[in-house]
């Protein structure tokens, strides 16, 4: 039987529907998630299926969205809260960082804070300074949170289902530019466990760790490099906290070379943490300096040419690999 193909946004929607059907404590809330079906159509039809009690359209009140979701989680529910853009999670950072992340700890380990905070992330579609950022680093920096970024429809569905079933708060970031991308997704129930990286392509010459929009770009780069005789191993670090450093280390021990590619800013990006960990734990296996491919420390412009210029592309990955291979 041929594998069923669905889009990334359909994978998200399916994951939510299946988990809501499976567990009556699961519900969805956020701006425009209900009647409209999401600003990016990623929750289409869920309101019509489950009704307004379990699919709650909220006012434009990011602080209340996360605060209410947290309160509901503390009283035994399993909310999925959507903040339309990761950029606006800055509005409710107290609720995410000081409240949600610390509630289990601050209450002596009593309530499970089983909630998922979804947001679209990353740029590439001309939305400019306040709608294009990548803030995974901010959340990875906060003990108590888990942070996940899928790059394929299969991972999007499996990771979201795992995140909804997880007893801890999970920040689930969806690359806006990937919503329309299709890929194989089984119709049967499955999960992709949190905390596990995935070797998306095997290779012996260099390890490239990427996530989000940089993952498909890196796979294309690896294809091009293969034509030139360079075999890159591509690791999808789809879970950033907990980080599966073991899979990365095993690959680096094999290839001796590492490139980390992400769309978030280079300075203090998660790539810097991965580079630091690899040099701490596998210094003797490194044959070249670790390279980082990331957005330089600029504000994201709307102009297509400028945006494409500042955001990392396939060519940047190829150049980084070639600089050390």
């Amino acid at each position: 039987m041929a594998q069923r193909q669905i889009s990334f946004r359909e994978a998200i929607s399916e994951a939510i529907r299946e988990e809501m059907a499976r567990d009556e404590r699961v519900f969805l809330m956020g701006e425009d998630v209900g009647v409209l079906g999401g600003a990016f159509a990623s929750t289409k039809g869920i309101y019509q299926q489950f009704g307004e009690e379990r699919v709650k359209d909220t006012p434009i009140s990011e602080t209340a969205i996360i605060g209410f979701a947290l309160g509901a989680a503390m009283a035994g529910m399993r909310p999925i809260a959507e903040i339309m853009r990761v950029d606006w999670m800055t509005i409710c950072m107290d609720e995410i960082v000081n409240q949600t992340a610390k509630m289990h700890y601050m209450t002596g380990g009593r309530p499970e804070v089983a909630m998922v905070i979804r947001a679209s992330s990353e740029g590439g579609i001309g939305l400019g300074a306040q709608h294009s950022q990548s803030f995974e680093t901010w959340f990875v920096h906060v003990p108590g949170l888990k942070v996940v970024i899928p790059s394929t429809p299969y991972d999007a569905k499996g990771l979201l289902k795992a995140a909804i079933r997880d007893p801890d708060p999970v920040i689930f970031l969806e690359s806006g530019i990937l919503y329309g991308v299709s890929g194989p997704v089984p119709a049967e129930d499955y999960i992709v466990p949190l905390g596990k990286a995935d070797v998306k392509r095997e290779g012996k010459d260099v390890t490239v760790v990427a996530w989000g929009t940089l993952l498909p770009k890196t796979l294309n780069a690896a294809q091009t490099l293969a034509g030139e005789g360079i075999e890159a191993e591509v690791i999808d670090s789809r879970s950033l906290r907990p980080l599966d450093i073991d899979t990365i280390l095993a690959s680096v021990r094999k290839t001796g070379k590492l490139v980390v590619a992400h769309e978030a800013m280079k300075t203090c990006g998660v790539g810097a943490e991965i580079a630091a960990l690899v040099q701490e734990k596998a210094f003797d296996h490194l044959d070249a300096p670790i390279q980082r491919v990331a957005t330089p420390d600029v504000i994201i412009p709307v102009n297509r040419t400028l945006e494409r210029f500042v955001l990392p592309q396939e060519d940047n990955v190829i150049a980084a690999v070639k600089s050390i291979v």
């Binding site: 006012p59 209340a64 000081n98 409240q99 209450t107 380990g109």
Partner: protein, 336 residues
């Protein structure tokens, strides 16, 4: 609904328990036994006890950084709360939360909060869960006049009212946000008046009158339980001590108030003597009975102190516990 003699005396005893706790704690703080700080609510006991007496056992409470009184009024054990404020292993969060992070899930005290206004949206969410699960509970949210100027107040009360959740918002207006007098912080000092904007009932009561607080919160809780949505109760009291025990120990740390203001409130509006006189007028209390209650409360605090002071320090490995629900997500660092 009329309170019985027994209930009224129990309220008086609870107010004294809180007063003893916080006066004892202040003495411990002066001896350096309280890590960090703590915010006492001396002068505000009538709000804590009046509001919590209006609740059922199954009802939830969410509170603030100034919450010793709130958790004790909802029934938390004196010795466990004292051990937590002294950061001992036997405290409610094993000494990791301290004065600002108190909870007792067995008594539906879902936690106090170190961020001013942090609990307001959370309490709305607890109300939302109650409504979704149809458990017939109410969530009471304590906050202060300072928090009323946070954005969480607007977002939280608006959404709670839109969704008609069974949350009762109780604002203790103690007239100061740290050093800032409320009259300089609020364009309209009547916080209850804001309820109109959220289409919910707003009540302004004397926060030094425990029965007035009880009656307002009782009505609001009944309304919430009937499914008619949230209410806002503003209880006007006065913070008789400084912002925190730490600030009180700093020279000039309490010098922002007009001369004589604290003394006047202490002499005329201290909720405990006010209630004591009322009980005497009602014939429910005489000097002998009052002395007996005082002695019993004193003894309770002495026993709690003995427990807390002799409790062990938390184990080092506990620093890595409860960050996540599962073990092993955070590990002991191999290199530090």
């Amino acid at each position: 609904m009329q309170l019985t003699k027994q209930e009224l005396l129990s309220m008086y005893r609870r107010m004294l328990t809180i007063r003893n706790f916080e006066e004892g704690l202040t003495a411990f703080s002066a001896q350096g036994l309280v890590p960090g700080t703590g915010h006492v609510s001396i002068g505000e006991e009538a709000v804590a006890v009046g509001a919590c007496t209006a609740l059922a056992e199954k009802d939830y409470v969410i509170s603030t950084h100034r919450a010793h009184g709130h958790v004790l009024a909802k029934g938390a054990e004196v010795k466990i709360i004292l051990a937590e404020v002294l950061a001992k292993a036997t405290g409610c969060t094993g000494g990791k939360g301290g004065s600002m992070h108190l909870s007792d899930f067995d008594r539906n005290i879902l936690g106090t909060n170190g961020i001013v206004g942090g609990g307001i949206t959370i309490a709305g969410g607890v109300g939302m869960a109650i409504k979704m699960r149809q458990t017939g509970q109410v969530c009471l949210c304590f906050f202060g006049d300072g928090a009323a100027n946070r954005g969480t107040f607007h977002e939280g009360l608006n959404l709670a009212a839109v969704w008609k959740v069974p949350t009762v918002y109780v604002c203790t207006n103690n007239q100061y946000g740290m050093s800032m007098p409320q009259c300089r912080a609020c364009a309209n000092v009547d916080i209850s008046a804001r309820a109109v904007s959220y289409d919910m009932p707003g009540y302004r009561v004397d926060g030094t009158d425990v029965i007035a607080v009880y009656e307002a919160v009782k009505g609001a809780a009944e309304r919430a339980r009937r499914g008619e949505g949230p209410s806002l109760v503003e209880a006007v009291a006065y913070r008789l001590r400084g912002h925190s025990m730490r600030m009180d120990q700093i020279p000039g740390g309490n010098a922002y108030r007009p001369e004589g203001e604290v003394d006047e409130w202490a002499a005329t509006r201290d909720p405990i003597p006010i209630f004591k006189n009322k009980l005497k007028e009602l014939g429910y209390l005489d000097d002998n009975a009052a002395a007996q209650i005082e002695a019993e409360c004193k003894k309770e605090f002495e026993q709690a102190s003995e427990f807390a002071l002799n409790s062990p320090e938390p184990k080092l490995e506990s620093a890595f516990e409860w960050i996540y629900t599962q073990e092993g997500v955070v590990q002991w660092p191999s290199v530090r």
